[in-house]
């Protein structure tokens, strides 16, 4: 806690600078100091950016190094000899688990969860925000409480359930398990957004002659875009990244998802091929990074409005 005030104190310089017009007496000395402060903050930001991105850099670096240099005594912070052989190994020479089926599994599961969770959460959030009915509070409360139960305790029951349906190693089973996992959070998030759109807007449209569903579709739905983005991102990340449930349900090499596939690089009996493992990690991370770069701004903005209005 003691860190907070210490960091907040120097921040006064820039905030003061913003209001400099009001504080005339000291205004003359400001520009030079302000420039120096801005430079200092810039340096700090660059340092922080490098620190946060370092593991990513290190992963990419290692994935491009020839095998003999990866595990050598030299460090090679800035490698001058690069190769794509690790990617070739990861994508086409993984004997225990091939890459392409894993990619296909992951894409299918993720798509299924993304679409289904957005549709279902949308309907459910409508029900709990726009209607008053018996059982509403119980539902809202239970989706809040469900999120606190440790999933590890339910693994065996879920496995037995999927097994009893004879759906092990199927995309549909893993998809439904993930869907149940993300729904409480997605309904919860969307609920905040729907609450944030005043009912009066819909009522106004209805007075103008819209039916209620039409009023909702034309007026409220477009305003929910950031909420749907936030919901979608969460579902996407969960489905793409989840590891434990996939490990249990998708056991056959040809139905593994990417995280399980990634795990096969490390075997107890063999020493790890770090170059290929890092190449595999890059392959798993690329879609997520691209996705994030596209939606990031909308997402955090969305989360904030959800939190404030929720």
């Amino acid at each position: 806690m003691s860190l907070a005030p210490a960091g907040a104190l120097p921040s006064s310089a820039a905030v003061t600078a913003a209001g400099a017009r009001a504080a005339v007496p000291v205004a003359r000395r400001r520009p030079a100091r302000r420039r120096a402060a801005a430079f200092g903050w810039g340096v700090l930001a660059a340092f922080l950016a490098a620190a946060f991105a370092f593991p990513v850099y290190w992963m990419i670096r290692t994935s491009l190094l020839p095998t003999n240099l990866v595990s050598g005594p030299e460090l090679h912070l800035w490698p001058d000899e690069l190769t794509l052989r690790n990617y070739d190994t990861a994508m086409f020479h993984q004997e225990r688990a091939p890459f392409v089926p894993a990619l296909s599994s992951s894409l299918q599961v993720t798509f299924l969860v993304l679409v289904a969770s957005m549709v279902l959460a949308f309907f459910a959030s409508l029900a709990v925000t726009r209607f008053r009915f018996r059982g509403r509070r119980a539902f809202v409360l239970s989706i809040l409480v469900i999120q606190m139960v440790p999933g590890e305790a339910m693994m065996i029951s879920v496995f037995q359930l999927v097994d009893s349906w004879q759906l092990l190693n199927t995309v549909i089973a893993l998809g439904v398990v993930y869907l149940a996992g993300v729904l409480p959070f997605t309904i919860w998030t969307l609920r905040g957004f729907v609450n944030g759109v005043p009912v009066e807007l819909e009522e106004a449209a209805m007075i103008d002659g819209c039916s209620r569903p039409r009023a909702f579709w034309k007026v409220t739905f477009p305003l929910l875009a950031p909420g749907l983005v936030a919901t979608g991102v969460f579902a996407f990340l969960q489905a793409w990244n989840e590891f434990m449930m996939a490990l249990i349900i998708m056991t056959r090499p040809e139905s593994m998802t990417l995280p399980v596939w990634l795990r096969t690089f490390q075997q107890a009996t063999k020493s790890t091929d770090w170059g290929a493992l890092m190449a595999g990690s890059v392959l798993v991370a690329i879609p997520v990074v691209v996705f994030f770069l596209i939606v990031q701004g909308r997402m955090t903005g969305g989360l904030v409005s959800g939190a404030v209005k929720g």
């Binding site: 009001a22 922080l48 509070r137 305790a153 309904i187 997520v288 939190a307």
Partner: protein, 318 residues
């Protein structure tokens, strides 16, 4: 008249004559909307939850998995758990670890958000991209990279320390001692969580009208006062949500600890509650005991977030 058919209006407020059908439809509509979600949650979450409660009061081991009947044992599993020293050690360890991680995440996340506020457009973009890369890394991939960074033989940390201090750090294992194991785990978790917290708080801070801060400043508030008396209260709900979420996530932490243990940690000295439940249940086959631990764990979670849950319930009564 149109407002009388509004399902949002309380049913008794609807006028009598031709409303009977409308009311029935309006009563059923929310359930139609909820049905798909309810079905999925009831089957895939509800059933295992009920089964978890059932398992927790039965003796259920590997043999029962193969069809041997499970005898009812009442609260035996709970008594066994609560009198087991290991459970309390793991619980205390999980809480200590959670507190450190949440404090670091929120504090540093706040500082990074404040820094983002002060940067020019270019440097803000640079820092944002750095944060974004850390945030977007899939957890398992991130764990493998961090494992490689702290690798005993060829890890970059050992390389750098050898270069910096002159002593030989090569061959130093970071995961074998519990304290440095948790230092590495905390570093990884905080690294992954700060971007989310920083971006969210930054977005919250930017929603504070500039005039409010300016007014506070004209009134002679110091930067520290402005931060604690204006900025923090303004984004209070965001802080509550972030802290509750971080506490739940960090207490439930599984993948990071599990993977680090796989790379080289001592299980008995580094397990947190999530991993402990997994060990008891999936790995050792004590399903009844593991379920009892999970129930106790959930109750603890509820107690921690009671404030948040209560606030929500109150809001729902409106």
């Amino acid at each position: 008249m149109s407002s009388t058919t509004l399902p949002a209006a309380p049913p008794e407020a609807a006028p009598a004559p031709r409303a009977t059908r409308t009311i029935t439809a309006a009563r059923l509509l929310p359930w139609f909307l909820l049905a798909p979600s309810l079905a999925v949650l009831a089957v895939v979450t509800g059933y295992p939850l009920v089964r978890m409660l059932w398992l927790s009061v039965h003796e259920y081991e590997r043999a029962q998995l193969l069809g041997v009947p499970a005898p009812f044992v009442g609260v035996d599993n709970y008594v066994a758990t609560l009198t087991d020293g290991r459970f309390w050690t793991v619980t205390a360890r999980s809480f200590a670890f959670m507190l450190v991680c949440v404090a670091l995440t929120i504090t540093v996340g706040t500082l990074v958000a404040l820094l983002l506020m002060k940067l020019g457009r270019v440097m803000r973009l640079v820092l944002s991209v750095g944060l974004l890369l850390a945030w977007a890394m899939p957890p398992l991939a991130a764990m493998l990279v961090w494992g490689w960074i702290f690798d005993t033989q060829y890890g970059v940390v050992n390389h750098l320390l050898t270069g910096l201090t002159g002593d030989s750090w090569m061959g130093h294992s970071w995961l074998i001692s519990p304290l440095s194991f948790f230092a590495v785990a905390a570093l990884v978790i905080v690294w992954g969580a700060i971007p989310f917290v920083a971006f969210t708080l930054y977005a919250g801070f930017t929603q504070i009208p500039g005039e409010v801060l300016e007014a506070a400043q004209l009134d002679g508030a110091s930067a520290r006062q402005r931060f604690f008396d204006v900025q923090v209260p303004y984004v209070r709900t965001i802080y509550v949500v972030l802290i509750v979420l971080s506490m739940i996530w960090d207490l439930k932490v599984f993948t990071q600890i599990f993977v680090l243990q796989g790379i080289g940690g001592v299980k008995s000295e580094t397990s947190t509650l999530g991993v402990y439940i997994y060990e008891m249940g999936m790995a050792q086959g004590h399903y009844g005991a593991a379920s009892a631990i999970a129930v106790i764990f959930t109750i603890i979670m509820l107690a921690i977030s009671a404030y948040y849950v209560r606030a929500t319930v109150k809001e729902e009564q409106l």
